[in-house]
């Protein structure tokens, strides 16, 4: 590798750094990025403003997290922040829903209207009749859940079948290990790769994601590249050849939706060949014998057939992973996007557990909220403000026992069912914030469309007018992007200050909106004068005020220790071990058993598959996977940003040359992708990176430049691939088959465009 340059720049973040200065006629403000627009990463940024206008965003070279680097979404941010289509002031609907008629109103009128409508519904039907729905924001769960509780509703959710994004993996880890774990790329140390306690992972498995594009869940994807340069070898599990796969020692081109089978097969090999860490397994795990017996039901020959991965590659991957010390797994959405996601996650986390990689340098480190500062998960105030009656009415509680074990969301599929049937009680209104579900996360979006249309009152809070806002909103509130707001970025490794540097129209931050509206419903729940006071309260564990955090340069790194399970740091009682009923990592989960779920990992075919539904496969002879990430877009966002749109202008479907030839397709052709539920249009990209039996279609497309009013809704129905995805969660209530379906394709005829 080239002589390290950036790593030497990352120094322990101990000294105070200036947070704002003048430079060349610009004011430069140091801070953190985070949603919105959608960003899971939260890099250190320098925001350049002139006369209050954001003109440039640079990476902060002194920030240990990204070390001066930035992805295109932040680099192009000024265009988004200052975009003429931004929502600038509150609006109320004029005319029918879907006609796109709006009238500007004041914030006071907006709050008054929302207060009155929500209060009337509370009186007539009860507070549970209002749904509070978010998208994959970052610091939103904390504030939106508290707004729901302040109002009195237990129904905080997201309109995604099986809440299939990280929730399945998080639930599995919390249930079986009592904590989260992430691949250790030195992110907990502010001196990063120079830290003497850190070790380079000998092997990292990239499983079901393309981290260099996604920067998902507080993990800067190019850390993988940093590790590769330092010697890390890769195993990549992906139906597509990603760039990382092209550089991997082993690329396992898996059939979509069969990750659980692969993990079980690898477990069987590692156990049978004695490659596991016997000492760790004896001392720190529960149920190894039972796991071994279960894994034996997945011999490699059978797993090769299920997964379409050659036997020798599965054997090689199992051996390479088990023999590498340390080894880590960087996993992603691919695991969540099957209805058996929790079980797949259980099998994969068992892999890193039995090989002794739990909380070791360069392995899978268990992580807590930095200084206990949590602005990333929901449930803030659940016990303080909800009545017992309201708690008991949370949707899904009686169907999915997971919801009784600390998972405080309302189960989305059941929410939709309740909206449709009015059972066990009617749903009358929705508060939709940081989400554009009919263009993005919703399965079968027309089903959600029908259900939302029936509501009496809908509020949408967003940066832009979206198909969701046009179709349903009675009131639209303009939300601020991160340079327009103060805030906290806190997940895993550190706490960061988000600093406001500009103001667009009358937009307000999601946090300010929730604070101001929340006060009306329950002033005790929102006792703070302003958001800064609220952030200071949230920062209690860090022992610093929001202003104090900002003024010391905006980043704080707590100390980090490995092998916390040996030191009594995982459990509240201070005893060594893990925070589970047995005090061990539960390869056999006593909690899943209690919930009536399989205590051991297993594999089940996706609901539609060549083997489970062979008759359907004859009619729909291609496996459809969806949602591979693109550089310039965060899900349904950024499609109106010219620089980013230029990088990927249309919804695209990747098709192997062999398949393309069979269907007489070439690059740039438009095809319909169809199954028994519906169809969506996509532009063909012929590429050898995908198996001839599989096609991969982009998700979350709409055309901000097209006509907003119905029936167009920005051309949404032509291109939303989720029209082929059913609402069908797994037995845990988490996970759904967004990425493993069956379909057919045919050319778009002239006149259909």
């Amino acid at each position: 590798m080239l002589n390290p340059q950036k790593k030497t720049r990352a120094r322990p973040w101990k000294e105070t750094k200036p947070w704002q200065w003048e430079e060349d006629g610009y004011t430069v403000t140091r801070g953190s990025a985070w949603s919105g627009p959608g960003c899971h990463s939260g890099c250190g940024v320098l925001l350049y403003t002139k006369k209050g206008r954001l003109v440039k965003v640079e990476g902060d070279p002194e920030n240990p997290y990204n070390q001066g680097r930035l992805c295109v979404r932040c680099l192009a941010l000024p265009e988004l922040v200052n975009h003429p289509d931004r929502l600038q002031y509150p609006m109320k609907r004029v005319g029918e829903r879907g006609e796109d008629g709006w009238q500007r109103i004041s914030w006071e009128e907006a709050y008054d209207t929302i207060y009155k409508e929500f209060s009337d519904i509370k009186e007539k039907y009860g507070p549970e009749s209002v749904i509070f729905a978010q998208g994959t924001g970052r610091d939103i769960p904390t504030y939106i859940s508290r707004l729901a509780y302040a109002y009195g509703s237990p129904n905080w959710t997201a309109f995604m079948s099986g809440l299939s994004c990280y929730a399945p993996r998080v639930a599995e880890m919390l249930i079986t290990t009592g904590n989260f774990a992430v691949a250790d790329c030195s992110q907990y140390f502010s001196d990063r790769y120079d830290n003497p306690n850190w070790e380079v992972p000998e092997c990292i498995v990239i499983w079901g994601n393309n981290p260099v594009m996604t920067n998902g869940d507080g993990f800067f994807g190019h850390w993988i590249v940093d590790c590769m340069k330092r010697g890390t070898k890769l195993i990549v599990v992906d139906p597509r050849l990603t760039w990382l796969a092209s550089r991997a020692d082993l690329w396992l081109q898996i059939r979509p939706g069969t990750d659980g089978a692969l993990a079980l097969g690898m477990l069987d090999i590692i156990i049978k060949e004695g490659l596991y860490d016997k000492e760790f397994v004896d001392k720190w795990t529960y149920g190894f014998g039972k796991l071994a017996k279960r894994a034996a039901e997945y011999p490699v020959e059978q797993v090769a057939e299920i997964t379409w991965i050659p036997q020798e590659d599965i054997l090689a991957a199992a051996r390479m992973f088990a023999r590498s010390k340390p080894a880590a797994v960087q996993w992603g959405f691919g695991i969540d996007a099957t209805k058996e996601s929790v079980s797949a996650a259980h099998a994969i986390s068992a892999l890193w557990t039995i090989t002794g990689n739990m909380d070791v340098p360069g392995g899978m480190i268990t992580v807590l909220f930095p200084y206990g500062v949590n602005v990333w998960t929901g449930g803030w105030g659940y016990n303080d403000f909800l009545t017992e009656t309201a708690k008991g009415k949370r949707i899904g509680l009686n169907k999915y026992p997971l919801l009784k074990h600390g998972f405080l969301f309302a189960q989305p599929d059941e929410v939709l069912e309740t909206m449709q049937t009015g059972e066990p009680y009617p749903i009358k209104a929705a508060w939709i914030q940081t989400s554009n579900p009919i263009a993005c996360i919703a399965a079968d979006p027309k089903k959600l469309y029908e259900a939302l249309k029936k509501l009496e009152f809908v509020v949408v809070v967003d940066l832009f007018k979206t198909p969701t806002a046009v179709a349903f909103a009675d009131i639209v509130l303009p939300a601020a992007t991160y340079p327009e707001r103060d805030g906290l970025r806190a997940v895993w490794s550190h706490v960061g200050a988000i600093n406001k540097v500009t103001q667009i129209g009358e937009a307000k931050s999601d946090m300010q909106i929730n604070l101001e509206l929340g006060k009306r419903f329950n002033p005790q729940a929102w006792p703070w004068e302003n958001v800064q006071e609220m952030f200071t309260h949230l920062l209690e564990g860090a022992g610093v005020t929001f202003e104090g955090l900002r003024e010391r340069g905006g980043q704080m790194y707590p100390s980090f220790e490995y092998k916390k399970f040996e030191k009594g740091l995982e459990r509240q009682d201070g005893q060594p071990g893990f925070n589970t009923p047995t005090g061990k990592v539960e390869l056999y989960s006593t909690l899943f058993e209690k919930m009536g779920l399989d205590p051991l990992p297993y594999f089940e075919e996706p609901a539609e598959s060549p083997y489970r539904t062979p008759e359907l496969y004859k009619k729909y002879p291609l496996v459809l996977t969806t949602g591979a990430r693109r550089w310039g877009a965060f899900h349904s966002e950024h499609h109106q940003i010219s620089r980013l749109r230029a990088l990927w202008p249309d919804p695209t479907v990747e098709i192997n040359p062999e398949t393309a030839a069979k269907y007489d397709l070439k690059d740039g052709d438009w095809v319909w992708i169809e199954n028994c539920m519906g169809r969506a249009r996509s532009k063909v990209k012929v590429t050898p990176i995908i198996d001839p039996r599989v096609i991969n279609a982009d998700h979350a497309w709409w055309y901000p430049e097209k006509h907003p009013a119905e029936p167009s809704l920005y051309g949404l129905w032509d291109v939303n691939i989720n029209q082929l995805v059913p609402w069908l969660p797994g037995p845990s209530g988490l996970g759904a088959d967004y990425r493993s379906l069956l379909c057919k394709i045919y050319k778009v005829k002239e006149g259909e465009m």
Binding site: L2, G59, A646
Partner: protein, 111 residues
């Protein structure tokens, strides 16, 4: 006269486009124009285990090696923001020494 250049380690370039957009932003170039442009080679299969899948950012005639940034003690916009950290700015003689040590590098002297 001292000549400066850009050294690129294309073994690790992931094709993330940060160099392009950083440059466009720095100099306010419109879409489709800029001081550096990414070239994709592949992806195609070489043999059962090996793929050709390479990205190389190529400076254009518009590249001025960010003289003003460098004078202010910063890296050129593309070099700083390169997510894979595969770009180096410096004196050609110094960069050439890195080439001796590393395969898959290319040295550009745009000016």
């Amino acid at each position: 006269m001292a000549r400066y250049g850009l050294l690129i380690d294309y073994k690790y370039c992931t094709g993330c486009h940060s160099c392009e957009v950083a440059c466009q932003r720095e100099y306010n170039y419109p879409v489709g124009k800029g001081g550096i442009q990414l070239v994709e080679v592949g992806p195609w299969q070489i043999n059962k285990k090996k793929w050709q899948y390479t990205y190389i950012p190529v400076p254009t005639e518009l590249c001025i090696l960010c003289g003003k940034r460098v004078a202010a003690g910063k890296q050129p916009a593309c070099v700083q923001h390169c997510q894979a950290d595969v770009m180096r700015f410096g004196l050609v003689e110094e960069l050439a020494k890195e080439m001796v040590k590393n395969s898959h590098t290319v040295l550009f002297t745009p000016r």
